[in-house]
Amino acid sequence: MTDAALDTVGAAEPRQGRSLWDDAWARLRANKAAMASLFFLAAMAIACIAGPWLVPHTYTTIYGDYVRTPPSLSAYPKADMVETALAEAVKRMRVDIKEWRQDGDRVFVTVESGREVDERNVRYLDRSDTFGDAKVESKSDDGRTMVLSASIKQQYFLLGTDNVGRDLLSRTLMAGRISLAIGLLAGVTAVVIGVIYGATAGFIGGRTDEVMMRIVDVLYSLPFIFFVIMLVVFFGRNFVLMFLAVGAVLWLDMARIVRGQALSIRRQEYIQAAEALGVTRSGILIRHVVPNLLGPVVIYMTLLVPQVIILESFLSFLGLGVQEPMTSWGVLISAGAKNIGSANWLLLFPAIFLVSTLLALNFVGDGLRDALDPRDR
């Protein structure tokens, strides 16, 4: 064929070849579902990282006036809530409301009492989550009636608030930070341990392989929940422990997959060719075995991250996960499930965040599989 007849222009100027990774990337780009998911994940990650600073409420602030407020696109307080909040605040002053009116974004209230009204009473208005900037407008001569005014604080709770009156949006984004971080960290832990362990076992083979894989089998037989409960009992609950526990269990799958791959790669002719060249074992492992392993590892990693997130949710659901006031999607969903009758948004929104993220991760994993392994389609 046109074998030796490669064009011979500019022999000194090497052209860049297209590696298998470039090919895979091009195939991935052609996969619309995977690309859309990739953008969605990027948006989700940015929202969770930057979001908690941008939303007007922090995830720990408790608004006593706004317990279990339903989600709304318009600002709180609503018209009917002003009176309730006003009555509540005035009651604390131990005075009676004579009359009140709203003028623009300020309320004017006339209070009266059997005794002289103390001017310091305005602080009760300030303390309410609904009002701010309270001041005394006028005072009758005997001091028994007083006109107070305060501005109405406009608050947005796009996703509503939870049982104690914390903004659900900021809590969900904060929870996303934790869930994604655990997913990524535990995923990476599992991959690093699994690849090193599995590649070593598969490549060395023989008795070493036998012993290493039997250890994996023993670890497999430990019940996961039992293992985590034990860790929690001994070390108390904390964030680092969480992902260590999850990662320490999930690397087993990775190790098995990688070992299988390494075993088959070891029999490839290019490994024999490297041996015939006299390349050292570590050279073969680093230059030949690991690069050829990475395809399946990358695929498995994208499928591992959702698994970790689900595991964390599960542990949090059981109450073994992160601690209040810190939160994760699993914690939020657990709380939401308890309030499903009275405040269904508490379950709905965290669940949408979690499910859409997992779905996107699975699409990306699927796309990567197709991109890196085009023969298997």
């Binding site: 490669l6 090497p14 052209r15 070849g17 298998l20 090919d23 006299g278």
Partner: protein, 537 residues
């Protein structure tokens, strides 16, 4: 019967890929009369397989076929899946190259034969069974009743291919499409399978479309030939016309692609470089938990002496231990017996002690697809040996040597940043040779270096290897089952069977006056040009 039973008109096949659309077949016209044997010849990538795959609607999912494929008045390209299934397997059946993977390892041969018979002919089980047995007898499988209960792994390659033929014949097809059916088999088995096909055709009268790159098969089997190149038919002729008076340059080139020339023997006083005495390699089979260990002697007491500038051809069928011998001599496999390199006894050396010697003992593999790491650039692959043996070289220096080595194997050095999958089979084999040559070895073991390549590319590789040998005074151990190539390459031939040397001697003598029956059988299968069967018709 009047008129062709299959006629293909203006068939075009294209594949959508990332780099745009690739046209594999560009307007092929072809016709097939009842009971006739037509060969489609061409090199890999010529579109010969895709033409028939498209006609059978078996293209990969990204392939599109247009044109007309007329089978008894029906356009096959327009049929829906169900109607096509009715035609496939029943009227037109296929056998493929790989008998190892075409059978399902989980079912017995009997089950795999009975199932399609029952489905297509709606026969009760007992009758289908009798029919299956008749088919196995027809394809001359020894002891067919017992073979019905065997699993594919219990059969040899040739036997599996016979089973595949039996399956293809099960529903009495009009047309049998054979896509390189003998390429994966040993020469002696090849001859048997081809004789069987010819005989079956004479008896059953179906038409055969033979897709092959091997002109020897064409000469012995086909009535008419289509020569394809780059997706087009460049020549149509009767077999006799094509061999006696080829019209197209490409056909002439194919005919001339038989490797030629002889290699003169080295001087008698040339020093012995690599010598093996009584080399034995045995593998333990089984020996798992509670299983009994078996010893298999792949190489059994072989002695061999390779002189400077000499080429020893090692021939034999698959499983004869020729590749194992090559690896044992390079100390890549543990072996018993003595191996000397120069004057040094290397049979006791471990991996580390062998490392400095590896520079001078090189190996080139059969499969140019598997022997190059797919994630490294060609430059990295070629210069890897330098990293090991000349660690003091700078990056720039290594690059310069890689460019030189690529030039030596006649590849464009500017391609060194590309990856192996961007090259054709012949180019990859050149890369593998460059990887061995960059270290300036004195002995190179060539393990079937031309078997996976087209004839014309084989010829180029053979020429290249001979040039390199002359230029650098190399010694080759040339392992091959392809006797034509061995004849052109080697000055001394060793014939192996079951791990032992059955005959050895100068190339000319072995080829002209083989002393052993086994050698004679090998020669006959490889070089016979007589026509199979059909002598009377």
């Amino acid at each position: 019967m009047a008129g062709p039973i299959l006629s293909i008109e203006d068939l075009r096949v294209s594949f959508r890929t990332l780099d745009g659309t690739v046209e594999a077949v560009r307007g092929v016209d072809l016709h097939l009369d009842a009971g006739e044997t037509v060969a489609i010849v061409g090199e890999s990538g010529s579109g010969k397989s895709q033409t028939m795959m498209a006609a059978m609607q078996l293209l990969a999912s990204n392939g599109v076929a247009t044109g007309h494929v007329d089978y008894r008045g029906r356009n096959l390209l327009a049929l829906d899946k169900q109607a096509m299934n009715e035609v496939r397997g029943r009227k037109i059946s296929m056998i493929f190259q790989e008998p190892m993977t075409s059978l399902d390892p989980l079912y017995t041969i009997g089950n795999q034969l009975i199932e399609p018979i029952r489905r297509h002919q709606k026969l009760p089980h007992a009758q289908a069974r009798a029919e299956a047995l008749r088919l196995l007898t027809l394809v001359q499988i020894p002891d067919p009743a017992r073979r019905m209960r065997s699993y594919p792994y219990e059969l040899s390659g040739g036997q599996r291919q016979r089973v595949m033929i039996a399956m293809a014949l099960a529903n009495k097809p009009d047309i049998l499409i054979a896509d390189e059916p003998t390429t994966a088999l040993d020469v002696t088995i090849q001859a048997q399978i081809l004789a069987l096909l010819a005989e079956l055709q004479a008896r059953l009268g179906m038409a055969i479309v033979f897709i092959t790159h091997d002109l020897n098969i064409v000469r012995r089997l086909a009535d008419r030939v289509y020569v394809m190149r780059h997706g087009e038919v460049v020549e149509t002729a009767t077999t006799e016309e094509m061999f006696t008076a080829p019209r197209h340059d490409y056909t002439r080139m194919l005919l001339a692609a038989e490797p030629e020339g002889h290699k003169p023997a080295p001087a008698d006083d040339a020093p012995i470089l690599l010598e093996g005495r009584d080399v034995t390699v045995s593998f333990e089979i089984g020996g798992g938990f509670l299983a009994r260990k078996m010893e298999l002697r792949a190489v059994d007491g072989v002695s061999l002496a390779l002189r400077r500038g000499q080429t020893i051809g090692v021939v034999g069928e698959s499983g004869s231990g020729k590749s194992t011998l090559g690896r044992a001599l390079l100390r890549l496999l543990p072996s018993k017996g003595k191996v000397e390199f120069g004057s040094q006894d290397i049979s006791g050396l471990d991996t580390a002690a062998m490392r400095p010697l590896r520079k001078r003992l090189q190996l080139v593999f059969q499969d140019p697809f598997g022997s190059l790491s797919p994630r490294m650039t060609v430059g990295q692959i070629i210069s890897e040996g330098l990293r090991v043996h000349e660690p003091s070289l700078s990056h720039r220096e290594r690059d310069r040597l890689a460019v030189e080595a690529l030039g030596e194997v006649q590849l464009d050095p500017s391609t060194r940043n590309r990856y192996p999958h961007e090259f054709s089979g012949g180019q990859r084999q050149r890369i593998a040779i460059a990887r061995a040559m960059i270290l300036k070895p004195s002995v190179v073991v060539l393990d079937e270096p031309t078997s996976a390549l087209d004839r014309s590319v084989q010829k180029q590789i053979v020429d290249l290897l001979r040039d390199l040998q002359e230029k650098h005074g190399l010694s080759y151990l040339f392992i091959s089952h392809d006797l034509a190539v061995v004849r052109a390459m080697a000055d001394y031939v060793v014939v192996m069977k079951s791990g032992k040397i059955v005959e050895e001697g100068e190339t000319g003598r072995i080829f002209d006056r083989p002393a052993q029956d086994y050698t004679r059988a090998l020669m006959a299968a490889a070089v016979d040009r007589e026509r199979f069967g059909k002598a009377g018709s």
